[in-house]
Homo-oligomer: 425 residues x 2
């Protein structure tokens, strides 16, 4: 019997499209207010606010351990994931805005060197850990372990630099440039190693032209975005002076950011790399005419958007942490060794840092693996080699442990290093 | 054979969670820039900007007719629907902010009268149209037709009033108060009529206590939100002065808006009703202390958020329009009669408007059915009576026609009426 009770109406409305908005409203209320409270708490403890948001996420993601409800289905729902990715995109766009392509090129050679060290050393160490602790497995699995350690998640470091107000320093440019190049290199290495494993599994040699195409597309995107973007941006804003309505700067800037992030995705890169490139290309002078005419300046538009979206990203990062993975003693040994390799491998970047800059700070800034590390581990868990997944459940738990530790350690350690050696503007 | 080519990497990344972000980035770029261009075009033609956004949506939703791609799957995807609903919620929150509970109560009695007329007349006319053109059908189907005509979508009218800068007038308060009450009454009537039909279908009488519970919950929510909210809001903001970080006003205000919208949903109402109530309750004086200390004022936070989210809502409303429904001559006659009943029924509100205000403007402001009308028609299409859907495909097409015409007619007609009789502040 279908009797319409007062409980049926929300159900009827859900059929009409109000279905997913309810949980999202609850989540946003928790994240908006919770991020403020936990961020403030972290800051009073001398930590960056982002650490508070990560802990809020860990709390929300592990509620069942405290007798609360399981919100993991919502945490991986399309709407929540998209909102959080928009947060990462807006953050990297904002970070890119603080520098110009010229300033980035000034540190470009050095950033490339730092990134190379930050990719090669963890790869070698990861490979060695595999040879040592998983000697019976194929060298390809060891290579995948190495690839997993090479990834960097630029979001955490960017956020810490923003929290301490150090974005406009050559130090920040070096570290962010290196982290973005590392992001690109990491994705290329993932593609190559996955390609080799998949080819071996299917008994066919890997087509070299496929690998070349991957690299060509990534480089074409980066060069194209910076060159074409630099030419296009001032012209578009000048042409848009024909529009009289308010909010033109916000619409065009965010529109360009979305286009660039989308093109990066099409080029096989992460959307945040495109958003960062869009931010680099866009200069305040491009829309000076609009602001003089009374339009809202871009930073006034971005701040409230960042305040809404970015905590969603970091809370989701925290929600991905399964604290039970800390408790499994059988994988803990492997996890500790893997994490040590991950930390030492990135701290080796200090070697490539020029005099007058804190090598330790740069190395710490490259530490966090964040969601990139989790994505890599997830792909490894899906790849098959000899009928078994490349990343078995034990190794996956160790990888998650490594991601958690490097991600959670970075904010406090980087902040402490920045306090000891404040970057010069 | 699974060979990793350059096309596989985006696929791998999609597995890692980048799946839904690509289409969203394209959509946001189109909507952000397109809404500005179409909005500007509409304004140059002397129309409100919202009309341009609706037309942009119609264009995007009917691309296949122009040989373009079909984006309807994206248009109904969870992430896009949630973003657009957040747009409607933010708009109504903003509209509510422009008035106080006291100001609303001052027009409350009159708004209730206008809303009653705006519900009873269309219901009666819809019932009569059913008796006349569908004489063989049950009276319950005729009642459902009437319920469908009673709905009002407050978003369009609120947006037009915002576009012309008339939100802070008694006229705006009367029309918005009436539209919100109408929204509530419409949902109650839908619940009652659906309940009667479902009960008849299952051969069981409708439990009267279920209907009473529906009404009690709605009234409890509205009274509770206004009373408890008015008491709570100043206390919460005063307590939050203990927090030192920036953005506290935005976090608390939006958090409160989300909570209120969620509670409205739980009470069987639309979330926008809750957002409107939250906006009414919140006064600038509550967070004066924060702003004096240097925190961003709420309007500075809301404007960029509204500029991003609200066009998504109106573009989606436009996307829901299937222009082919204008071409089916077999339903066109019924559609025209239904639409006439819908228009005349709401214009009857003019009768209840006090002297000194333009009755025509109020009636026109109550016209648009928007997404509420579509939701009602969709529920009717799912309800069964005697083995057939209450709203058959022909009636559904006629209902969609009625929704389209009332929604698209309102912005230009209301604007013209407001120009002839500008509301006094």
């Amino acid at each position: 019997m279908l009797l319409v009770t007062s409980a049926t109406l929300p159900m009827l409305l859900a059929a009409g499209g109000h279905g997913a908005i309810g949980p999202m409203l609850v989540a946003l209320a928790f994240i908006l207010v919770g991020a403020k409270l936990f961020g403030e708490l972290a800051e009073r403890l001398g930590q960056p606010a982002v650490l508070g948001e990560l802990f809020l996420g860990m709390l929300l993601g592990n509620l069942p351990l405290l007798g609360g409800p399981d919100v993991s289905a919502f945490g991986s729902s399309e709407a929540f994931v998209v909102l959080s990715e928009l947060g990462a995109i807006l953050l990297l766009f904002h970070v890119g805005l603080e520098s110009t392509p010229k300033e980035m090129l000034a540190v470009g050679g050095r950033a490339l060197l730092v990134a190379m060290v930050g990719v090669v050393t963890p790869m070698a160490l990861g490979f060695a850990v595999g040879e040592w602790l998983r000697p019976d497995e194929s060298w390809m699995l060891h290579a995948f372990l190495g690839a997993m350690l090479a990834a960097t998640s630029v979001g955490i470091t960017a956020r810490v630099l923003k929290d301490v107000g150090a974005l406009r320093t050559p130090f920040a440019r070096l570290i962010l440039g290196a982290a973005v190049i590392d992001d690109v290199l990491g994705l290329l290495i993932l593609a190559v190693v996955s390609g080799i494993i998949t080819a071996a599994q299917s008994g066919v040699a890997l087509a070299p032209q496929a690998l070349v195409l991957i690299i060509v597309k990534a480089v074409l995107f980066l060069v194209g975005a910076l060159v074409v973007g630099s030419l296009l941006s001032p012209r578009v804003f000048r042409g848009a002076l024909a529009l009289r309505s308010a909010g033109v700067v916000q619409a065009l800037a965010l529109g360009g950011c979305c286009v660039c992030a989308y093109l990066a995705l099409q080029a096989g890169l992460a959307p945040i790399v495109g958003a960062f490139a869009a931010g680099l290309v866009l200069e305040e002078v491009h829309f000076e005419g609009h602001v003089q005419r009374g339009d809202r300046p871009l930073h006034a538009s971005l701040e409230p958007l960042i305040a809404l979206f970015v905590p969603v990203f970091f809370v989701r990062m925290g929600m991905l942490v399964d604290v039970r993975s800390f408790g499994d003693l059988s994988v803990l040994g492997f996890a500790v060794v893997l994490t040590t390799a991950a930390v030492v491998g990135k701290l080796a970047c200090a070697w490539a840092v020029p005099r007058g800059m804190s090598g330790l700070s740069v190395g710490l800034g490259m530490l966090p693996r964040g969601e990139v590390g989790l994505i890599f581990a997830g792909i490894g868990a899906q790849l098959m080699l000899g009928g078994r997944p490349v990343i078995d459940p034990g190794t996956y738990a160790a990888a998650v442990f490594m991601v958690i530790v490097t991600t959670l350690l970075t904010p406090p350690l980087l902040l402490a290093a920045l306090r000891r050696h404040p970057p010069t503007p």
